[in-house]
Amino acid sequence: MGLLSILRKLKSSPDQEVRILLLGLDNGGKTTLLKQLASEDISHITPTQGFNIKSVQSQGFKLNVWDIGGQRKIRPYWRNYFENTDMLIYVIDSADRKRFDETGQELAELLDEEKLSGVPVLIFANKQDLLTAAPASEIAEGLNLHIIRDRLWQIQSCSALTGEGIQEGMNWVCKSVNAKKK
C-alpha cells in the first residue's frame, strides 16, 4: 500500500464508536481506571456521585466510557445506562474480601439483565498493588465465571493506581468488540 492510500484510509474511516459501561461496587476503582485510561491525574479522586463519562481513542475505536457511581443508593440507577451497551467492564476491589459476596451478587444480577444479554464482559480484578489482594484466579472461581456461556468474558488482574494490566484488558475489549461487530 502506498503512503497516499494509507493517508486516505486514515482520513476516510472515522473511528468506530463503542459504548462501554463501567460498573462495580463503590470504592472499586472505576473512576481511577477511567482517569487512567484518559491519562489524567489520579492523585485526588473522590467518590462518584452520579456518573462520569470520557471518550478515549484506542486502536481505531472511539471508546465512550460511562463510569457510574457504585454506592448502594445509586445502584438502582445503573439500569438507566444499559441501552446500546457494547461492552461491560466490571471492576472488583480484590482486597475487599468482606464484600466478595455482595459484588458477586451485583454481577450476577447484571448478567441476568435482558438489555445486557450477549454483551461481552471484562472483569478487572483491581488493586493488585495491595498485598492483601486476592489473585484473579481465586476471584474467578468465587464468582463461578466458568459457567458463563452466553457471552464473551475475561478476567484481568490490574492496578488502576499503577496502570498495570489495564492495557491488556483494553486490548481484549477492542478484540472482542471487533469479533462481535463482524
Binding site: N27, Q49, G50, K73
Partner: protein, 298 residues
C-alpha cells in the same frame, strides 16, 4: 473562501500577540520600567502599591512584578517565611533604593503583599498535609471528630460501613471541612443536611461535601483562589480561612442545587461542573470575596 481568510487573519493576529508578548516580557518591559522609574521617581512596586487599593488588584500585580524581577532578592520574596516578612521588605527597599521618608506607606503595603503572597503558598502546603492524612476508624481522635459532627448536625450516611473509603482522595481535609461547617454554622449545616434527605432532590451529604472539598482544593492548587484570599485576608491566610471558603461552597452549592431542580442525583456531575464554572467566573472579578453571610432568617 471568506472563512479561510478570516481564519488566516485570526491566526496571524494571534501570532502577533504572542510575538508582542514575548518581546514585551523579555525586552521592552525592562525599558518601559526604566522609563517610568525615571519619570515618576518610583520603582514598579511603589507604583503598584500607590496605584491600587489593598487586595487582589495590588497583591496580584506585586506578585507578578516580584516573580519576573531580575533581582534574586525580589524573586525569593514570594516564598519568604512569615516571621521574616519585615526584614524581607527592608531588603527589597534597600535593593530598590526606596527611601521610606519619601514614601512612608510603602513598607506596610509591601509587607501585606508579602504576607498574602507567601501565605497562600504556606496555606497550600498545610492543606496538602491535611489531605494526605487518611481517616482512620481505629484512631480514637478521628472517630471522636466524626461523632462530634454527628452530634452537631445529626447523623448522615456514608457509602459503606467504613467512612474511610469515602474520604479517599481528600483524607482528613474532607472531615475537618465537614466539621468546621457544622460547628461554626450549625444552623446552616442543619438546613443543608435537611435538604440532602429530600425524597426527590436529595443527595449524599457526606459525599457531596467531600466533592466540594475537592473543588476548593483544586482551585487552591491552581492558584485560582488567590484573588479571593488577597481580598479577604490582610495577613497570611490560614487553614481556618480555607474552611470558611468550604462553608461558602457547601451552603451555596446546596442553594444552587435546590434552585436548579435536577432530575436526580445522577445529574450531580453536570451541576457540579456548572457550579464550578460559576465559581471560576466569580474568581475572575477583581473584587471577588466568597464569604458566607449569615442569613438573619436562620
Amino acid at each position: 473562501m471568506r472563512t479561510v481568510t478570516t481564519w488566516k487573519f485570526a491566526l496571524s493576529s494571534k501570532m502577533l500577540g504572542y510575538i508582542w508578548q514575548y518581546l514585551f516580557s523579555s525586552f521592552l518591559r525592562f525599558w518601559f520600567k526604566w522609563f517610568l522609574r525615571h519619570v515618576t521617581g518610583k520603582c514598579e512596586l511603589q507604583r503598584i502599591c500607590s496605584g491600587y487599593k489593598q487586595g487582589a488588584p495590588r497583591t496580584s500585580r506585586a506578585e507578578y512584578s516580584l516573580e519576573s524581577s531580575k533581582s534574586t532578592v525580589l524573586r525569593a520574596a514570594v516564598s519568604v517565611e512569615e516571621d521574616q516578612v519585615e526584614e524581607c521588605a527592608m531588603a527589597i527597599m534597600k535593593e530598590k533604593k526606596v527611601i521610606s521618608q519619601k514614601d512612608p506607606e510603602f513598607k506596610m503595603s509591601l509587607q501585606v503583599c508579602l504576607w498574602q503572597i507567601s501565605g497562600y503558598k504556606r496555606l497550600y502546603a498545610s492543606v496538602e498535609d491535611l489531605r494526605k492524612q487518611s481517616f482512620d476508624c481505629e484512631n480514637n481522635s478521628h472517630e471522636n471528630m466524626l461523632l462530634r459532627n454527628y452530634q452537631a448536625v445529626g447523623r448522615y450516611r456514608f457509602q459503606g460501613d467504613d467512612p474511610k473509603t469515602d474520604f479517599r482522595g481528600m483524607g482528613m481535609l474532607g472531615l475537618t471541612n465537614l466539621i468546621f461547617f457544622s460547628e461554626k454554622y450549625t444552623e446552616m449545616a442543619r438546613q443543608v443536611l435537611s435538604h440532602s434527605v429530600h425524597p426527590k432532590l436529595g443527595y449524599s451529604y457526606a459525599i457531596v461535601g467531600i466533592n466540594l472539598t475537592e473543588m476548593a482544593y483544586s482551585l487552591l492548587r491552581s492558584g485560582a483562589l488567590k484573588p479571593h484570599f488577597y481580598n479577604t485576608v490582610s495577613q497570611s491566610p490560614k487553614l481556618e480561612h480555607f474552611h470558611q471558603l468550604y462553608c461558602y461552597f457547601a451552603y451555596e452549592f446546596d442553594k444552587f442545587w435546590i434552585e436548579e431542580k435536577p432530575e436526580s442525583i445522577m445529574e450531580f456531575n453536570r451541576y457540579r461542573e456548572k457550579f464550578h464554572e460559576k465559581m471560576k467566573a466569580l474568581l475572575q472579578e477583581p473584587d471577588v470575596s466568597l464569604c458566607l453571610t449569615v442569613d438573619s432568617k436562620l
